[in-house]
Symmetry: C2
Subunit: 354 residues, 2 copies
Amino acid sequence: MLDLTSNAVDLTRAICDIPSVSGDEGHLADLIEEAVRALPHLEVIRDGDTVIARTNLGRARRVAIAGHIDTVPINGNVPTRTVDIDGEEFIWGRGTVDMKAGVAVQLTLAADLVAPKADITWIWYDHEEVAAALNALTRIAATRADLLAADFAILGEPSNGQVEGGCNGHMRAIIRTHGVRSHSARSWIGENAIHKAAPILERLAAYTAREVPVDGLVYREGLNAVRITGGVAGNVIPDLCEVEVNYRFAPSRSGAEAEEHVREVFEGFEVEVIDMAEGARPGLDDPLAQEFVAAVGGTAQPKYGWTDVARFSALGIPAVNYGPGDPQLAHHDEERVAVAQIRDVERGLRAWLT
Amino acid sequence: MLDLTSNAVDLTRAICDIPSVSGDEGHLADLIEEAVRALPHLEVIRDGDTVIARTNLGRARRVAIAGHIDTVPINGNVPTRTVDIDGEEFIWGRGTVDMKAGVAVQLTLAADLVAPKADITWIWYDHEEVAAALNALTRIAATRADLLAADFAILGEPSNGQVEGGCNGHMRAIIRTHGVRSHSARSWIGENAIHKAAPILERLAAYTAREVPVDGLVYREGLNAVRITGGVAGNVIPDLCEVEVNYRFAPSRSGAEAEEHVREVFEGFEVEVIDMAEGARPGLDDPLAQEFVAAVGGTAQPKYGWTDVARFSALGIPAVNYGPGDPQLAHHDEERVAVAQIRDVERGLRAWLT
């Protein structure tokens, strides 16, 4: 049984040592459910291997605080151990960063904060590290969106103990040119599709990405070729060239607007959108969010990579990332979290919620 | 046994019906050797599966007339048959165009012309349809170049019964750009190698190919991308982009000059030459060649594709292509040669040589 009254550091080790690679979260979910059902101030809902626990204090505001309980596969890096690096204490092992230290902080506070100043919906969910279709938040948003309802959401993803707001959207598209094949000895009979792609690369090279303030954070965009292919054989004029572009766009821009922008940039060319995920506004203009940033300290930063905060954003709920651990070490064989960051994040959340 | 006294049309069918896909020319070479050894006016040399037969009349000039006896693999299109298309008679089947009709004309004339006005070296060789390293002319040029010695050479490759002079050279090179990988969510940390390739495609698109008069024929050049590749993954800024270009250059330009030109065009970029074959001058300023063109009639055309005439050119021997058959039908499943072209080419060669 999990002891939620110990402390977030010991609890981090305890839940890291319970295997819960995506698809095998059942046992950990059972233990979490059992522990929070023992707390009379929380209403508990089990949905698949997701455990939701919430206060119902009639507060003016409700905050959702979420963390996924699955990890990517272990690689000889569990059970956890504590290590000392240059005088700093770390917990070493799979899941310590992504993101069981964050979950341990949440479980500790869920047990401890019987009268927070906002109502809280704690969400510990499964299948985050795999395809979006398997992600429990995808399922719950579709089947029981009421469980996610809140005025503000915090995702405990590793952010080095800093507030990272929202996230950029991203899309991928194929920009295509067509030509006519011919033998390269008589190239004037054909039309070279690769040569026709010159303006596509010119426009990409000349493109100046925007820096867009959204709710007080500046999101840096990017439009990049990530793949180019063309060619039939060494003696054939190619009849097709494809440039795959990746567009990262500020959360103030909708998917439709992003597509319109890419079509404008590549006007005159065939454009096929093959992937689209809208971003998430940080919502830092919300008073609750401003109190949150003030309480936890530091300066909020924009999150560039896409995370599950976008799911809350899609439900109209401003959301930020805030958790212990260096995101660069997530999924890394040397994954490890600084004990001090666990304590800092616990202190920050506690200060804001009480 | 081959009957060289029949006629070139019947002989075309006879030798097409003897399988001789590259590597299996031995039996056909045996039959050709046997037939020409029966002719007292010819000295016969067998070298591998190549048969060389020559007159030694002490003429002021010697002409080499060559044809390969192998074919690409058959595809249900032998034995040959005669067909009538819109009132015109064709021999249908593998090898009829490329190039046994030409060989049949040569064998007929080899038997018939006991006192040509120039000495003739007839060359029927193996392994033309495969890698250059296997080509019998490669071997003989290296081991017994004296056997190829001549003042002028005619290759009986299909040219629709027109004289096609020399051939363009060709080279292939990789033009390369380098960048720095990064996650596409933070593209400003990396350097996009695909974007850096924009000037390569611009220069190709803007390139105006030369038209170069050589010995009275105008060779049209071409510089083309034939392949482009770049990209690591949909969310990674690529660190490498490669553009493979194919340069077809007039026979008045050496391989070294061609390389220098390509390096100039792509100045500032990494250029790696991966394939190089110099062209062949048509040598139509040679009196013997002028007599030849006058005798066979029509207007000489430049040959754009690379052929074995370049091997003679490399030995300092002007050379042209002249043979029956539409080169567009070579290797085609509907390969077929017009009977009238076989007769025209036989008549043309005979007129010039007597």
